[in-house]
């Protein structure tokens, strides 16, 4: 790659090539009724949610680009702030863990300030595990330039399956 010929097109083009290869997996491979998320909080029993259950909660949509995708995409899911508020969970941080054992602490202050979502749809489609599903933490990156640092990108956990309020 020469210094002046960087083309942001090459990656998405190839991505598109490959994503058609596994297109069968999208939606078909997502079981909406299967337990997808466990929320643990102090003094309460762990609660399990399927995507179906999450879909019944108020929807929050964020249109933003991400570290994986330069073009903005529409993410659809449930506001973490609203979800935790609804459950009456209290704490200072939220420990978000993924299927592959990736895990990170998200400060409640950031959740309140930026109102990230637990997205279950991108561009109108449910996401299979192969495609970062079933749940992804998405911040409104495009709305707040301050979010465009690795610290917040690290908090964009995909394949989320467990949230612990601490």
């Amino acid at each position: 790659m020469t210094p002046f010929s960087f083309s942001p097109l090459s990656a998405p083009v190839l991505l598109a090539l490959f994503s058609t290869g596994c297109a069968y997996a999208a939606d078909l491979n997502v079981d909406l009724n299967k337990p997808a998320l466990v929320i643990s909080a102090k003094a309460t029993k762990p609660m399990t949610f399927s995507l179906q259950q999450l879909s019944t909660l108020p929807i929050r949509r964020i249109t933003t680009s991400t570290q994986w995708h330069h073009a903005p995409q529409q993410w659809e899911g449930v506001s973490i702030k609203a979800l935790l508020g609804k459950l009456g969970a209290t704490g200072t941080s939220v420990y978000v863990a993924a299927l592959n054992d990736y895990a990170i602490d998200i400060a409640v202050a950031d959740i309140i300030k930026y109102d990230p979502i637990l997205a279950y749809k991108v561009d109108g489609h449910y996401m299979p595990v192969r495609d970062k599903g079933p749940l992804v933490v998405i911040y409104p990156y495009d709305e707040y330039p301050a979010l465009n640092i690795q610290f917040y990108y690290n908090q964009a956990v995909w394949q989320v399956n467990h949230i612990t309020v601490r």
Partner: protein, 523 residues
């Protein structure tokens, strides 16, 4: 700086500044584009992608092992088949990311082929796991088969991971090199821009310096000019003052009078005093200045003819009565208006002196009668005129008898007294038109216009009788005297006074010869 070099210099400076501007513009656009490219690069590099994230590559192998473990667990009856499916999905998701990272051209074609084959394989496994036979044994067999396949490809996965890793390092290095090159270009462009800006500043400084120098020069010129103007003004003022002083103190009267309305623009003191102008009058016109109106018209006509008057004798009305003067009038334009410059030279003293001198030159001081010279000077023209016109003229020449005796007996003052008495008698007895003269010594002459010889003889006899009766009283005694007279008449044959005079003189000689105290005339 000469006048010629300015436009040339200005042209050159215009050219130069245009060149500089173009250079600065080019450098600015180059800098701008380099900046934009660098900005793109930086923003791309600043975007926290996971391409340099070793976590992903390690995760791939880890997920492969976990998938293997889950199949082991399933075969041992520990894990449900869903776990195996989930682990495969997770492995597949990591592989997908690996592929995304491997989208670089450095990746060898064989590796790409292997990766695509691996993708198909994973898809195949997914399908197989999704449709496991109901029979547990068959299912286990199927899973074991997948496990064996996975084991045979673990080395390939490792190779792929390594290649992608190496490729990533190259990409990063390329980015680094590209960034460095970008920044070098940017730095060069900035340096160029800086140099052109510096050159421009230097040029501006030179321009400013030149402008300052020019303006200083101009200011110097200006102040010199002002000084000169001031000096000239002062000099002019001084000279004007001097002129005014000269004019004011000049014994000659000077006046400047506007022609249109007779307004006196200037009148010096002598003129004002001579004319008795205490206040500046509104109007001065020549007719009112002149004593004699006819003389004014004469002068006016001359002025019209000659456009000026120079030293014209004119009698002006002064405060002490009329006085003779020499009048000079010159036309002059004052502020575009016609005016007359008038010089009045008071001639009264000179006239008087002249009169006195003339008097002294023509009069006998003792008797106040014409002297000999004056007599001839005055008589000769009359004689010429008389000869031309045939007017009768007679001449009497007379002489005191024995005058030497009077002088010797009574003293010279007595002689003088006798002469004076005789002169007074002549003045008393003769007409205004008669010309009396003491020719010298005791000899007198009387020219009688319009007088024939016989009339002249009668007049002569009358004179003789009166002289005889004349009584000259003196402290030293009484002087008695008689006179002898010769009479001659102008004859047509005469050419001048000399002939007439010679005859009268001969007649006198005759009278003396005949015994004195008598009148004689030649026949």
């Amino acid at each position: 700086m000469s006048a010629l070099s300015i436009p040339c210099w200005r042209n050159r400076s215009l050219c130069f500044s245009g060149l500089l501007c173009a250079l600065a513009l080019a450098m600015a656009s180059l800098t701008f584009s380099a900046l934009q490219i660098a900005e793109n690069q930086v923003s791309r590099l600043a975007r926290p992608t996971l391409k340099n994230n070793l976590w992903v590559t390690t995760q791939l192998q880890l997920e492969a092992l976990r998938f293997h473990q889950s199949m082991d667990g399933y075969l041992l009856g520990r894990d449900p088949v869903d776990t195996v499916r989930l682990r495969l999905d997770l492995l597949a998701s990591r592989f997908q990311i690996l592929k995304e990272y491997g989208t670089d051209q450095h990746m060898s074609a064989t590796t790409w082929q292997q990766m695509i084959a691996m993708q198909r394989r994973l898809d195949g496994w997914s399908r197989q796991l999704a449709a496991l036979p109901k029979d547990p044994e068959l299912a286990r067999h199927q899973v074991r088969k997948i496990e064996t396949e996975l084991e045979s490809h673990l080395e390939a996965i490792h190779q792929m991971t390594l290649e992608v890793h190496l490729d990533m390092t190259e990409v990063v290095d390329n980015d680094r090199i590209g960034t460095k090159a970008n920044f070098a270009t940017l730095a060069r462009a900035l340096a160029g821009l800086g140099i052109s800006v510096l050159a421009m500043l230097a040029f501006l400084a030179i321009l400013l310096f030149r402008t300052r120098r020019l303006s200083r020069h101009l200011a110097g010129l200006n102040s010199t000019l002002e000084q000169q103007v001031e000096q000239r003004t002062r000099a002019l003022h001084d000279s004007e003052e001097r002129l005014r002083l000269i004019l004011t103190t000049s014994p000659i009267g000077v006046g400047l009078i506007r022609d249109s309305d007779g307004c006196p623009l200037f009148i010096n003191r002598p003129l004002a005093e001579r004319l008795g102008l205490t206040d500046y009058p509104d109007r001065i016109v020549l007719p009112t200045l002149l004593d004699c109106p006819t003389r004014y018209y004469e002068l006016y006509r001359r002025y019209r003819r000659e456009r000026e008057l120079r030293d014209c004798e004119a009698v002006l009305r002064g405060i002490d009565g009329p006085f003779p003067s020499l009048l000079t009038v010159l036309p002059l334009a004052i502020n575009g208006e016609a005016a007359s410059l008038i010089w009045v030279y008071d001639n009264s003293n000179r006239q008087q002196l002249e009169d006195e001198l003339r008097h002294l030159a023509t009069t006998d001081s003792l008797t106040e009668l014409h002297n000999r010279r004056a007599f001839f000077a005055e008589a000769e023209p009359l004689i010429q005129k008389a000869l031309q016109q045939g007017i009768p003229y007679s001449l009497i020449v007379l002489d005191i008898d024995h005058f030497k005796h009077i002088n010797d007996s009574f003293g010279h003052p007595a002689g003088d007294q006798a002469l004076r008495h005789l002169a007074d008698m002549l003045r008393d007895l003769l007409r205004e038109s008669d010309i009396c003269s003491r020719l010298g010594g005791e000899e007198f002459a009387v020219l009688l216009p319009n007088t024939t010889q016989s009339s002249a003889v009668r007049i002569a006899e009358r004179l003789r009788r009166h002289a005889e009766a004349l009584d000259v009283a003196l402290p030293t005694g009484q002087v008695m005297m008689t006179i002898s007279l010769g009479v001659a008449e102008l004859r047509p044959g005469d050419r001048d006074l000399a002939g007439l005079f010679a005859r009268a003189d001969r007649a006198l000689y005759d009278a003396k010869h005949q015994g004195r105290n008598r009148t004689s005339c030649l026949q």
